[in-house]
């Protein structure tokens, strides 16, 4: 998805003052591609160099004009104040925070959230993992928003897998008609993470990618270090029977009153206890019924099945 944006304009590579590899994108609504003055990139700093070492950013990300619903497409873009208008002093993207020597995951996340808030004017910024577990920030009505974000991330990861096995699951989306809730997915360490925020106008894909890269810098190394992924072994895809069996194991582990969980699944699904005990004997329809029954008992939707397994 977003990779296609990254190497877009080779002509502008010559103007790149690399932020040590970290792409900087103006989040101002009044900047324009053709204005070299508004596309200034701050001078590199040692901090940024340290942070950007591992980045594989796009060669350059031009300043992108923010889409404002009121601006006619045919008219030349001007620096019109909008609801997202910021002070002149913020016309340049703020420097990335100095994360050198910061080893605490929470602290790194907090710093990068502060940077996102400052750079984009977003509110309610949070970072969560694929299961909806909050890593840092605030998400307003936390539970519902986090749970929904986790579901989206999980579903997108499933979709990415179905589109191309092993394909990148990074994504961005926004929700609503203003203010917008925006969710940007990024890979860090072994899993997919999301950064979410509210804004009166959504970030463009390139701007979102800049946020993604910033978050990846903040989390990537430390997540890799603290949550070391299991050693890569050739993965054998789970069969349908394996999935059902695994789901039933999870059910017994997590269900309320686990000693009757299998009885309840059998009754809800309309199959015998023997069939529940031997998922390999279940037909396709019966398997779906059993899985649905188990998910219902756990209070989960079908879309959450993949994240569960």
């Amino acid at each position: 998805m977003a990779e296609s944006l990254s190497g877009a304009d080779p002509t502008k590579q010559t103007r790149t003052a690399p932020f040590s590899g970290v792409p900087l994108v103006s989040f101002e609504p009044f900047e324009h591609h053709s204005s070299p003055t508004t596309n200034r990139i701050p001078a590199p700093s040692p901090t940024a160099l340290a942070i950007g070492r591992r980045a594989t950013p796009p060669a350059v990300l031009p300043a992108i004009e923010e889409e404002t619903p009121t601006a006619p497409a045919t008219q030349p873009k001007q620096a019109e104040p909008t609801s997202e208008a910021v002070r002149p002093s913020q016309a340049e993207p703020p420097h990335l925070p100095d994360l050198s020597g910061v080893t605490s995951l929470e602290e790194r996340c907090d710093k990068i959230i502060a940077w996102i808030t400052s750079a984009t004017g977003a509110t309610d910024v949070f970072i969560a993992d694929e299961t909806g577990l909050l890593l840092a920030g605030t998400a307003g009505d936390v539970e519902a928003r986090l749970a929904g974000s986790g579901s989206v991330a999980s579903a997108v990861a499933g979709l990415a897998e179905s589109v191309a096995r092993g394909g990148s699951p990074i994504f961005e989306m926004h929700l609503g008609e203003g203010p917008f809730f925006q969710l940007v997915g990024f890979s860090a360490g072994a899993g997919l993470h999301v950064v979410g925020f509210s804004r009166s106008a959504p970030l463009t894909p390139r701007q979102a990618h800049a946020v993604r890269l910033a978050c990846r810098h903040a989390l990537g190394e430390i997540v890799r270090r603290t949550v070391a992924p299991p050693p890569r072994v050739p993965t054998v895809p789970l069969t349908d029977t394996d999935k059902t069996r695994r789901l039933l194991e999870i059910l017994v582990a997590r269900a309320p009153d686990p000693h009757i969980a299998r009885l309840r699944v059998a009754l809800r699904a309309g199959v015998t206890l023997d069939a529940v005990a031997s998922p390999d004997q279940l037909g396709g329809d019966a398997r779906v019924l059993v899985e649905t029954a188990a998910l219902d008992i756990l209070g989960l939707g079908r879309g959450e099945l993949r994240g569960l397994l």
């Binding site: 997590r254 309320p256 009153d257 686990p258 000693h259 009885l263 009754l267 756990l298």
Partner: protein, 458 residues
């Protein structure tokens, strides 16, 4: 209690309000039984439960309104609201006219209990207060009677689903309600006399075939299966069953405790570590047996699973309520001291009588190995006989669960512990699989003179 009292139906071990049979149940039983009906029937379960609630509440309120004399519509609604709270079912606030309206619920037995017990661990997507819905509709229908139809209630928000409160919308439906045979006190007493007479006669050694009796009334069964020329044998010398004195003492003790119990919160009875409510027997048994019949007709292979879950609901409820009584500091029986596990069984039987579950007797007990319970009038066989007549199937799932819980309580609980029935104890007992199995060896529905459950160690 709103001018309504809970009366003992002596000597049947049953309780009544007005002329309707009621029983105390704790939230563990209420939630699991409702959940089992939902598991069995899916989307139909709401209608089955609400219909049972409507029928039972209409019978109960009709009986009590008759005792109160003439009441105007607002007074009837106020009375119904007070009664609901006094039963420990929560609070209902009616904003209803003859055209319909809204009822708001607070601390309802099912929704609130679910939120307390499972709310933090499980997400529930459905509304839960079918009993509240049926009760509200029945009260409004009696307050504003009309030839045009009855009120129907839908729950629009429920704390058990994560909503802020519970509320119901009442609208009048043109259809007339179906009304089954009323399972009331006179009918129960009539049935008890009939069973008593049957016990005095000599029963044929072989039971009639199912085809001969299924669907017939008990009267028909008697005529068919008992030879009228056989004279009743000489009545044997009456002999008290084992533990009679302990059972009677425990029944009296708990009856006193229940009379003295007062609600700490409006509409909520928190007793013996559980949330307790007075529930019409017709509601509990109607949802149990209507669902059982539907499962038998549609998917007979699932009948044992359904029965097992109903039995588990009864066992879980009995374990917590009866065990909570004995663990209570107010309980003075020697069972509380953990000295005599046999005596605990007798006390449990007495407690079961006091909460309206039936005239439970202990026929035999072998410590930790075998228990034989006997009852001529438990609420479920009384209900089944009055509503459905005879049946050759083993249907006494509540008694089976009760018997298993009595064995668990008497032999698997550490009564010397500081809090013997603390959270997690039941889960610890059942997690390794069942330790006891219950067999229904006799039933009044099959023509026997009593119901008998034999529990043995697995």
């Amino acid at each position: 209690m709103s001018g309504a009292e809970v009366h003992a139906v002596e000597p049947l071990g049953l309780l009544a309000m007005g002329d309707q049979l009621v029983a105390y149940q704790c939230h563990h039983h209420s939630l699991l039984l409702d959940q089992t009906v939902v598991d069995a029937l899916g989307g139909e379960a709401w209608a089955v439960r609400k219909h049972a609630a409507f029928e039972s509440a209409r019978c109960l309120l009709t009986s009590l309104f008759a005792e109160q004399g003439a009441l105007r519509a607002p007074e009837r609604l106020a009375y119904a609201s007070d009664l609901f709270a006094a039963m420990g079912q929560g609070e209902l606030r009616f904003d209803v006219t003859a055209e319909g309206g809204v009822v708001r619920g607070e601390r309802l037995h099912y929704g609130s209990s679910y939120a307390e017990k499972y709310g933090e661990t499980t997400r529930n997507k459905s509304v839960l207060d079918a009993f509240g819905a049926g009760y509200a509709a029945a009260a409004a229908s009696l307050a504003y009677p009309s030839d045009w139809g009855l009120f129907d209630a839908e729950e629009t928000s429920c704390v058990g689903r994560g909503d802020d409160g519970c509320s119901f919308t009442l609208v009048r439906r043109p259809e007339r309600g179906r009304r089954g045979v009323s399972v009331n006190r006179p009918a129960a007493e009539r049935l008890a006399r009939e069973i008593e007479k049957r016990g005095a006669r000599r029963m044929p050694s072989s039971l009639p075939r199912r085809d001969d009796v299924e669907g017939l009334s008990l009267d028909s069964l008697d005529v068919k299966s008992i030879d009228p020329r056989v004279e009743p044998p000489e009545a044997p010398e009456p002999r008290d069953p084992p533990g009679s004195r302990e059972i009677a003492s425990a029944e009296a003790s708990l009856t006193r405790l229940l009379e003295d119990a007062s609600a700490a919160e409006a509409g909520v009875m928190r007793l013996f570590g559980t949330r307790v409510a007075i529930v019409p027997v017709s509601y509990v048994d109607q949802i149990t047996f209507d669902t059982m019949h539907l499962v038998e007709r549609r998917t007979p292979e699932l009948s044992p699973i359904y029965a097992a879950l109903c039995r588990e609901a009864a066992a879980m409820g009995a374990f917590h309520l009866l065990g909570g009584v004995i663990a209570s500091p107010h309980w003075t029986g020697s069972g509380a001291l953990g000295r005599d596990r046999t005596r605990i069984v007798y006390e449990l039987a007495g407690i079961a009588r006091a909460v309206g579950w039936g005239a439970i007797e202990v026929s035999e007990i072998v410590a930790g190995k075998r228990l034989v319970l006997r009852s001529r009038t438990a609420h479920e066989n009384v209900y089944y006989a009055i509503r459905h007549g005879a049946s050759m199937r083993k249907r006494l799932v509540f008694l089976q669960g009760l018997a298993i819980a009595m064995m668990q309580l008497s032999h698997e609980v550490d009564w010397a512990a500081e809090a013997p029935i603390r959270p997690g104890v039941y889960a610890g007992i059942v997690q390794g699989g069942p330790h006891f199995k219950a067999e229904e060896t006799r039933s009044t529905a099959r023509g026997d003179d009593a119901c008998e459950i034999v529990v043995t160690r697995v």
